[in-house]
């Protein structure tokens, strides 16, 4: 019962956010100064063509009607038609969703694998030189522009050493892994410092908890306490930290996909902006925001399953 009401409550909380997100996505075309169709067609269209495009996009209707239609269609998975690509926006975006999700999961995985041991080391040597070195290393990683570090990784591992391809996505799962290694490393380089910082904090908190004192009093070795109690309890907040930072992850993915010419949502966004392909931009704004909302929802639910205490709060 508690679980059900928690899930329902969480879903109800989402409603105003989703409505706001949909409204903002809808407004992207409305707010374009001048006629978005003429801008998209670069002014070389005749009046009939423009009028036809208006009718197809529904731009000839009153704004509230347009909004209602936008919501209705979006609920049915129809995000309109790209005039420039002559294809449904949903299909264009769906085609690009796979590489982006692969990239995000892969970078999150690398970031966790790097961040966990470093955070553990940092927390267990709290205030010692290793801790400071890890913190300052994190600051340096955080300050690296992803497009710059991407270029350098390309130059070193791709062009000079020839270990990894420098662009494209490949066809099979194995090829995806090889193609996405450098892009994922690039994203992980700025995600890992954020993860390390939060994990270190939560580990330090766990380390001063009463049950750790009890474990010490029982005579357990520090190593065992770290591995069994601290690490296990610090893993739970990792989910939350990752979810909170999903926005940064996606932001980083936009630039990294562009640098490595990956066929993902981010590079699609950059291209769509270049062509002023407003239906695609609008659809992407909606999809990106919904990704953030859904990931946060899933993280909260996962957290609830791991730690039932939130149900009583």
């Amino acid at each position: 019962m508690l679980v059900l009401s928690y899930v329902l409550g969480r879903l109800v909380q989402m409603v105003p956010v989703v409505l706001g997100v949909v409204l903002i996505a809808f407004l992207t075309i409305q707010l374009v100064p001048g006629d978005p169709v003429r801008i998209m067609l670069h002014g070389r269209a005749t009046d009939e063509v423009v009028a036809a495009a208006h009718a197809r996009l529904g731009l000839d209707q009153p704004v509230p009607v347009q909004f209602a239609r936008f919501v209705w269609n979006a609920l049915h998975g129809d995000l309109g038609t790209s005039i420039i690509q002559q294809a449904p926006v949903t299909a264009i975006i769906a085609e690009r969703l796979g590489p982006s999700i692969f990239l995000l999961s892969y970078s999150a995985l690398i970031a966790i694998v790097v961040a966990l041991p470093l955070a553990l080391l940092s927390a267990s040597r709290h205030g010692r030189p290793v801790d400071h070195a890890i913190r300052i290393g994190g600051m340096i990683g955080f300050a690296m522009p992803p497009f710059w570090i991407g270029l350098l990784l390309m130059l070193l591992f791709g062009l000079t050493l020839g270990l990894f391809p420098i662009s494209g996505y490949g066809r099979s799962f194995g090829e995806h892994v090889v193609h996405l290694t450098l892009p994922s490393l690039t994203i992980a380089l700025f995600l890992a410092p954020i993860l390390i910082q939060s994990l270190r904090g939560s580990m330090l908190e766990v380390m001063t908890a009463d049950y750790i004192e009890v474990a010490r009093a029982k005579g357990l070795s520090e190593r065992r306490i770290m591995a069994k109690h601290v690490l296990r309890n610090a893993l739970i907040p990792t989910i939350t930290v990752l979810a909170v930072n999903i926005g940064w992850l996606l932001s980083g993915a936009v630039i990294v996909e562009y640098v490595f010419s990956l066929p993902g949502l981010g590079s699609l966004l950059v291209r769509a902006v270049g062509f002023r392909d407003y239906p695609v931009i609008q659809g992407l704004a909606l999809v990106f925001a919904m990704l953030v909302v859904v990931v946060n929802l899933l993280a909260d639910l996962a957290y609830m399953l791991v730690d039932r205490r939130v149900l009583r709060a």
Partner: protein, 289 residues
């Protein structure tokens, strides 16, 4: 509080303040001050005109004559990086501190008054945070068109949300404390209570976060310029320079690499200041790092 002090006492105070600065704050301040000064005095320090194209010396590797080498049209990369400080630090500064002013004010007011103002603000924050920051900025730029002025507009529209959230959270704790109740009992108006009494106590977290935000904004501007949506060539913006060198990365690694190194040094300096401030102000960390 502003108190007139004699120069000597003032010097003593500065020395005492410096003595309690953590090492990170000192090192960070030295790094950032050096970069800002180099930017201010760029016309005096820069060995060449950042726009001067010398086709006799294209793609020269770093040397004594050209410390950072030359680019594909023979411009001196070091001089361009120096002038780039003016562009990147200026945009980074304004995109950080302008939204901070009204973000903190709005968040503080919402936290103090509560009620419908708070409810509306919280919904707005939730919606703004649902969009990945860069995606939202790019979408706004797609409407307004590329360029620095529109980056300012886009960031000013969006970036205050983080500060509003921080200030609101702090205000919720602060507003029930005795000194606020005392100020209210004395009959002070909400404006005075929020800005004169509570603000000094709730601003720390925003100041600390602003250092990480400064780094992110420099990365944002250089990233947007890299994508061609920000500062336009031939202006010597760091991200735009990295983009220009991209096609020459194999023959001339320095065109892209060295401006990036300066970005990393600048960002690390700012992060060090943030870390030091967090210790100096005696707070738990609020920044991203």
């Amino acid at each position: 509080m502003v108190v007139a002090v004699s120069p000597r006492r003032h010097a003593g105070r500065v020395a005492r303040e410096l003595a309690v600065w953590p090492a990170t704050l000192k090192v960070g301040t030295v790094i950032v001050a050096t970069i800002v000064l180099a930017g201010l005095f760029a016309p005096l320090i820069a060995p060449y005109d950042p726009f001067y194209q010398d086709f006799g010396t294209v793609l020269q590797p770093p040397s004594l004559a050209h410390p950072f080498g030359t680019d594909m049209v023979g411009r001196d990369v070091f001089s361009r990086v120096l002038f780039g400080i003016r562009i990147d630090m200026q945009i980074g500064f304004f995109t950080t501190y302008v939204p901070m002013i009204y973000g903190v004010a709005l968040g503080a007011a919402a936290g103090y008054f509560g009620g419908w103002l708070d409810a509306i603000l919280m919904r707005l924050l939730d919606i703004a945070m649902a969009f990945p920051f860069l995606v939202l900025i790019i979408v706004i730029l797609s409407i307004l068109g590329p360029g620095v002025q529109n980056i300012y507009i886009a960031v000013f529209l969006v970036a205050w949300t983080m500060y509003a959230r921080l200030a609101r959270a702090e205000m919720l704790v602060e507003r029930n404390k005795d000194y606020i109740l005392a100020a209210r009992t004395l009959g002070f108006g909400p404006g005075r209570i929020i800005f004169r009494h509570a603000l000094p106590n709730i601003i720390h977290s925003s100041i600390i976060f602003s250092m990480a935000d400064f780094v992110l904004n420099i990365l944002l501007v250089s990233g947007l310029s890299f994508l061609g949506l920000g500062v336009q060539p031939p202006l010597p913006e760091w991200g735009a320079m990295i983009a220009e060198g991209r096609d020459y990365i194999l023959q001339a690694w320095w065109i892209s690499t060295l401006p990036g190194v300066v970005v990393v040094i600048t960002g690390t300096g700012l992060s060090l200041i943030g870390d030091g401030l967090a210790h100096r102000l005696g707070e738990r960390q609020h920044g991203l790092l």
